[in-house]
């Protein structure tokens, strides 16, 4: 039972972490662009 629990958890980590990495890699870039443009609009580059 405990072996199965840890087996499941290891594979859940691999699958979930791979998905998160791909998702954040794509969406995070948009966040950076938006953040920098907001800051540029707010105070302007120094």
């Amino acid at each position: 039972m405990s072996r199965f629990f840890w087996w499941l958890l290891v594979w859940a980590c691999v699958v979930w972490y791979s998905t998160l990495t791909l998702y954040v890699a794509v969406k995070g870039l948009d966040d950076i662009k938006k953040m920098l443009s907001q800051l540029k609009r707010g105070s302007g580059p120094q």
């Binding site: 990495t21 950076i32 800051l39």
Partner: protein
């Protein structure tokens, strides 16, 4: 002999170049102190997830979680599960973090001032910086030991020159200098952008090596090794004689307190564009904390499986020693780049975080009313540099005794015990006041500091008292001190402002 070759060196060089370029490019967007400390509060969800994950996974994390896997088997990943549960709960309910973000503060002590007065703000600042810097003190050497072992530079060599004898110190100094340059110039903006890059590189390295372990060795072989060497204790922390109830309870308290008050973690909530985004960063990053413990723990178990009993390794160096020969050329470069990414993202965030507390809560009373943003920025930059210098000396000279996770737990408890008590009372207990807060800070720091001193003088306290019971005493003592102190003083503190005033 390590598998690190010229191709791997090129991957590492490319990664370092990309990080420096990204970190330095955004420095021109820093115009105000708020931009420097919390990126103008413009951070959105996905960048927040990348930054939180990258910050909370350093080489030091990889080392202590792998050590836990090597010593305790799968049961060593228990703190990760507890932390993920705590983070998910806090993210879903907004417990403490919602009022914290809505108060639009930069640090916890700033929030405490609204309820408990300026004295508590300053005292909290000192405790946070003390606990945080002691905790961070071991990062550099531990990171360096990992890199030296993986690169095959630490064992069986007679140094031919001063530089060869100090290759660890020189490498880590150069790395810290790079991190300091972009953090000093770009503050939180550089930290967020480089964290994003570092999250991707770090994740690719962690996943690639884990998949290699699963395909080449397999889960069953590793589980068989744990079963043969540890029995049920390798799977269940409650039946492990070195862990038990005190270990689980201490880690439940420690990780819940860290989720609520660890400055590098909550700084992502403060930098989020609103409270809802901050909460989402928590819920969606929660499961990462299982991976944060289980993936390197799995590597530690693989080291236990592969290394001969007479391999001449310690529990801490077993994993990197095994990795140095297991990981093939090409992937080795990605692994080293991943670990450098992990180390750099953690160092930059930690330097910025503790400097923000020093500036905001300890130096604040001496700031002149007419200070310009330019002067504020200069002061922040000088503080980041000063922390870098401290890290360099303390980090390379502190003699670590006991296991790494226990040291980090005990030093973290110096502030986690009292700050979590103050935060909960500040947000939800109207009767809480400055007497209770002051008593909680004193009692919360007393137990772990006493334990650390005793451990250096009488190492046998590790067996007679142990870090877990002393840690639990700090959490219970801080809560009790808050209740007793508050009840002794007539009247409660000022109410906490709730409404978010966003322009």
């Amino acid at each position: 002999m390590s598998n690190f070759g010229w191709f791997d060196g090129s991957i590492v060089g490319l990664y370092l170049l990309a990080t420096m370029v990204a970190g330095l490019m955004v420095r021109r967007y820093v115009g105000k102190v708020e931009d420097f400390l919390v990126a103008g509060r413009e951070m959105d969800l996905h960048l927040g997830i990348a930054s939180l994950a990258a910050t909370e996974f350093g080489v030091v994390t990889c080392m202590y979680t792998a050590e836990a896997g090597y010593r305790y088997g799968f049961a060593g990943a228990t703190p990760g599960i507890l932390m993920a549960l705590a983070m998910f709960f806090v993210g879903v309910t907004g417990f403490c973090v919602k009022p914290l973000r809505e108060a639009r503060v930069v640090t916890l002590p700033e929030l405490f001032e609204k309820r408990f007065g300026q004295g508590v703000r300053r005292a909290s600042g000192v405790v946070i910086v003390l606990g945080g810097l002691l905790n961070m003190g071991v990062f550099l050497r531990t990171g360096g030991e990992f890199l030296m072992t993986v690169l095959g530079l630490s064992a069986g060599r007679t140094p031919q020159s001063w530089a060869e004898a100090h290759v660890l110190e020189l490498t880590m100094t150069a790395l810290l200098l790079m991190v300091a340059i972009y953090t000093i110039l770009g503050g939180m903006l550089s930290v967020l952008v480089t964290d994003f890059l570092q999250f991707i590189v770090m994740s690719l390295g962690l996943l690639a090596v884990t998949i290699l372990v699963l395909s080449k060795i397999g889960f069953s072989a590793l589980a068989d090794t744990v079963e043969a060497k540890m029995g049920a204790a390798g799977f269940n922390p409650f039946v492990n004689p070195e862990m038990g109830v005190s270990y689980v309870l201490f880690n439940a308290c420690l990780n819940t307190a860290a989720v609520l008050t660890w400055q590098t973690t909550i700084q992502r909530v403060m930098a989020a564009k609103d409270a809802a985004t901050g909460q989402k960063v928590y819920t969606r990053t929660a499961f990462f904390f299982v991976a944060r413990f289980l993936i390197p723990g799995f590597w530690g178990i693989a080291a236990l499986h592969m290394l001969a009993p007479d391999a001449g390794v310690t529990t801490l160096t077993a994993m990197p020693t095994w990795l140095s020969t297991f990981v093939p050329v090409g992937l080795m470069g990605l692994l080293v780049a991943a670990m450098l990414a992990a180390d750099m993202s953690t160092d930059s965030s930690y330097m910025l975080t503790w400097s923000s507390v020093i500036y905001n809560d300890i130096v604040a009373p001496w700031r002149r009313p007419g200070w310009t943003e330019k002067k504020g920025l200069l002061m922040n930059r000088m503080l980041v540099a000063a922390i870098g210098v401290f890290l360099l000396f303390y980090g390379l000279w502190y003699p670590l005794k006991g296991d790494l996770w226990s040291y980090l737990g005990v030093t973290g408890t110096i502030y986690l015990a009292s700050m979590s008590t103050l935060l909960i009372a500040c947000c939800y207990w109207p009767r809480a006041n400055s007497w209770g807060a002051t008593a909680a800070i004193a009692v919360g720091a007393l137990f772990p500091v006493t334990y650390l001193v005793l451990e250096q003088i009488h190492p046998e306290v590790r067996k007679t008292i142990g870090p877990y019971w002393s840690g639990l005493a700090a959490y219970a003592g801080a809560a009790l001190a808050m209740v007793v102190g508050s009840l002794l003083k007539p009247g409660g503190g000022a109410p906490l402002p709730r409404k978010e005033a966003r322009p």
